[in-house]
Subunit: 600 residues, 2 copies
């Protein structure tokens, strides 16, 4: 007899994408399990780049300090090109690695994928949850019954799980009935294949080798991101933990030996061989391994594919995310970031539906938002990989790539690669109609960082830290200038609106509001606000310099909010701006929430 169980959400695959989902759902109080077919986590190598927006996201789960404690920050990018003297390479320019001024953490961060996984596991463990492994699905069936599919409380998906190494089919097997399933089981996703979802796109003819080791070198940029172009191929250098670097080496397809399947024959390649190729390209700089006894920490070789899944969900009951939905080159360290971004987008939506707060239609916005992002990612990747892998312009390669072309692309795509520039298109949860009330808070983009001052105690507060990823919508109320004529009326009107919204959707629970006053620090002004706008003293901020003049204020101006009228900003649980409203028109706020929330 198979053991049978019930769960709200089952997650298949415990890489960064699956763990992001598991941690977020558990944090939001959802009954969730996560399984992985591997017996242990990743020990070395694999994805290692964390982009600025990912750092903001992790911080919103209160995991920032863990990440910063172990990660290697990469602040500068150095570009090397063929020396003008014609012998070897030389430095062309060195610039900030993150080109986006509004990034809260303006740098990349490298760390071992296993360390990222451990941070999620530790967080989950503190909530009494762990990865169940090794445990793999053997079948998945989604109900075809409309009445089941339309009932969010129904267990619409049946998954058989089995220990991969168990000999007896029956004994070790388990049948899990799940309301929702998330498949984050990697580029060769079992879930995707089982559901018959296609990967659209193609392989490329770009082959790369990767080696992780501690270098002995007179090359000055081993602690910066480096892009090296030579006449014989391109390289990337990425600093890592414990004085290591990762070097990506472009490989000449014609020099590679293929096996019968047309894949690279790994047995004919070695880490030493990759180092030899890198050495040649580093000339005139010397490059070697610091300690031969230490050897290489990790190495691999791969061909770049550029594909996107045709669907990201089946009936909004099974969702795919991470590498299961998109594969691309590692040139801009997008893999782990895009994967975590998928499930950061998905988790709060499932949580709201599971908790009966939102309509199931909310779940459609996952594919809408993240598949578009994945397609943009592949488009970017094609452009960038072509530039990166192309030969440099020279007398022989008259149609080669100039450094300026690559550098311009690096700058142009900075918003995209940092993750900061992501802008979700209009939908039920992304309403652009009152953008003019807060021109510096583009609807569909994440709330940019700014330091305000907490009114009661003059503590400098980063607004992003007031928007934790707790699966709940937040309201930022910018009250505007309190000396204006209609200030009191505006405030009272909004307080009434908020009261109505809370009654309708939250059974009157205290609001997730941050009230941001204009003007000077004066704690006495807190008490003049209607109580619903100050559920706790810590939720009232002011747009002023802090007590020590280390933060300049200017938040209204930065966010494009006119102090003579103020603004209401609805922030989605993932910290993206969902809607903007005038204080005086309660209907805007009500209309927005009516679009997808359920009255309680």
């Amino acid at each position: 007899m198979n053991q049978e169980s019930f769960v709200d959400v089952l997650i298949i695959g415990a890489g960064p994408s699956g763990l992001m989902a598991a941690n977020a759902l558990r944090h939001a109080g959802v009954n969730v399990r996560i399984v992985d077919k591997r017996a242990t986590g990743v020990a070395a190598g694999q994805a290692d780049g964390m982009m600025p927006r990912s750092l903001e996201i992790l911080q919103s789960y209160d995991l920032g300090k863990d990440i910063f404690e172990i990660g290697t920050q990469v602040h500068l990018a150095a570009f090397y090109n063929p020396s003008k003297q014609g012998d070897g390479i030389e430095l062309t320019r060195r610039v900030p690695n993150c080109t986006i001024a509004s990034a809260r953490y303006p740098f990349g961060l490298t760390l071992h994928q296993g360390d990222v996984e451990k941070i999620f596991e530790r967080s989950m463990s503190s909530m009494g949850m762990c990865i169940e492994r090794p445990l793999a699905p053997t079948s998945i069936v989604v109900s075809q019954d409309d009445s089941v599919l339309h009932d969010p409380s129904a267990y619409a998906v049946k998954v058989h799980l089995k220990q991969p190494d168990s000999e007896s089919e029956d004994e070790a097997a388990e049948v899990v009935n799940a309301r929702f399933v998330i498949g984050t089981d990697g580029a060769r996703s079992w879930t995707r294949k089982a559901l018959g979802v296609a990967l659209e796109g193609a392989q490329t003819d770009y082959y790369w080798g990767v080696i992780d080791f501690v270098p002995e070198t007179d090359f000055p940029d081993t602690r910066n991101y480096v892009a090296i172009h030579t006449h014989t191929g391109s390289l990337m250098v990425i600093p890592r933990e414990n004085d290591m670097v990762r070097i990506y080496v472009q490989l000449d397809k014609n020099a590679l030996e293929m096996d019968e399947m047309g894949n690279v024959d790994r047995t004919k390649m070695s880490a030493d061989r990759l180092l030899e190729i890198a050495k040649a390209s580093f000339h005139p700089f010397k490059l070697d391994m610091k300690d031969r006894n230490e050897g290489f920490k990790w190495w691999t070789i791969y061909r770049i594919g550029q594909r996107v899944a045709s669907n990201f969900s089946v009936h909004e009951r099974v969702f795919l995310g991470g590498d299961a939905t998109h594969t691309h080159s590692p040139k801009a360290a997008q893999g782990m970031n895009a994967s975590m971004g998928d499930t950061h987008n998905l988790a709060w939506k499932i949580a709201q539906v599971v908790h009966g707060q939102a309509d199931m239609s909310l779940l459609k916005t996952y594919e809408f938002e993240r598949r578009q992002f994945a397609q943009d990612l592949i488009l970017f990747d094609k452009t960038y990989a072509t530039l990166f892998c192309g030969k440099p312009l020279s007398e022989i390669n008259t149609d080669g790539i100039t450094h300026e072309e690559l550098y311009q692309a690096y700058q142009t795509f900075g918003g995209f690669t940092s993750g900061i520039g992501i802008c979700y298109a209009p939908s039920a949860i992304t309403c652009t109609s009152n953008q003019g009330f807060a021109t510096g808070l583009p609807v569909g983009q994440r709330v940019p960082p700014h330091v305000f001052v907490r009114m009661a105690d003059a503590l400098a507060v980063e607004i992003q830290d007031m928007l934790p990823a707790n699966a709940r919508f937040k309201i930022l109320l910018f009250t505007g200038d309190h000396t204006r004529d209609n200030y009191t009326d505006d405030i009272q009107h909004f307080a009434d609106t908020l009261g109505d919204v809370l009654t309708r959707y939250q059974k009157g629970r205290s609001p997730d509001i941050v009230t941001i006053l204009a003007g000077d620090k004066d704690p006495a002004r807190i008490l003049s606000l209607p109580p619903i706008l100050r559920p706790h003293w810590s939720r009232v901020l002011v747009d002023d310099v802090d007590a020590h003049r280390r933060h300049p204020g200017g938040g209204y101006e930065k966010y494009g909010i006119d102090p003579s009228r103020g603004a209401v900003v609805v922030v989605r649980p993932d910290a993206y701006v969902g809607a903007i409203a005038p204080l005086q028109e309660g209907g805007v706020l009500k209309g927005y929430f009516d679009g997808f929330l359920l009255a309680q």
Copy 2:
């Protein structure tokens, strides 16, 4: 039979002062034990103020993030005085709580003494150490034999320990033979009394009551430090954890009932009575307890004593620290800070002697430095308490205190109360002879914070974080302008000097050096330094703006160092400037270390 054991250092008393010593010594690899007669730590109340320098010190033990996570930051100070309308009190001014621009953490921080103790205990526990409790000394004998006293490896102190509640004398007793003993057992120190060390000074006629509770009030400054002066007495308000405040209420001696011993009769006083007195002084603001069922978290009543121990050590074998050596009013939250400062000063000295690195004469600097500080503290306390407890100037009190007098004192003593201004007088370890080479780094004061840029990876680095409290001396090498004529000679001369010093005192171990270049970020310049000046790439900084222009550079100018000649700065293990030397004169450095270090 008594059990007999041997230990390098025995600490008696596990309050913040003893725990600071235990944690520091264990961290420095010293064989140390700490005992306390109480069965458990402090559960509520007691000392709760952490001043800016204490925060820097805790950060130097890598405990900053623990403290900040749980502490309540106090950024503003508000002063209330009798209303000019003659009815109740009104706000006179609100200013930054920390008036010292160079503070790295420009605020006070309140937290429950038990929480401070737990942070130390957790740190010790990670090093495999815990407080032994309840365990109390019953006798202490210091050897009178000169040959023993002069031999740092001799076990010169014999202490009998016993569980306070054990019935059988013999069974539970233990004889500990210690090389050194630290007595941090509080104001009524058993150790101090057993050694016959006198407390010099006197009681005052100032009596104070203290209550901790969650207020219900329209007083706007419950999250700031508040000094209130009324015609009937003074009050202080201190914000605490969990929305609590602590209110200090000055009590009229004549209205207090005394017991037969002349002490205040606590049975005739209550927390409710203290709240009633506070309420009267808060007029016209309302003040009450938010939830009567919650009640008071803690309360006490005490008389201020202002005393200093006549000696801080006996033969430099037993040391006294913390409240055992000084008692004073809590008006400027000095108690816990001064106590931790004592043992932060002492621990590295003992560690150096125990490890055979320094001569025993080093230990004499403890009393020299900390007794002077304690005397200064009492002097300050007398002045400040007189102002604070005095009646306000009025038509009746024509010799009363004006707000301006108190406020000026608050500003003037800011350096002292913050702990930042402490300056140790010249001694073997504090050599002022080359101050002109770094006028912004006063010898005897702690190294002020400044953000430099790490050359290899452009990471912004706070110099204080390069000076961890690991019981080792550090050298800051400011190389100066590398385009000057004698740059290469200067650098090589200093590299040779450093080589000699390391050979003599450290058996050639790699140096604790931070090399700070002038000029622009350019990682290629690291490789041009002699290897001894760059034991690891992370130890080379540059005085430049960081990659994101968030930190302005300007360190040479701030520290008063002329780039045309550079400077060598020796930093003591406790992060105080010990000596300054020109690069070209190796003798200065050698002479300094010869004064107290032992050749290996």
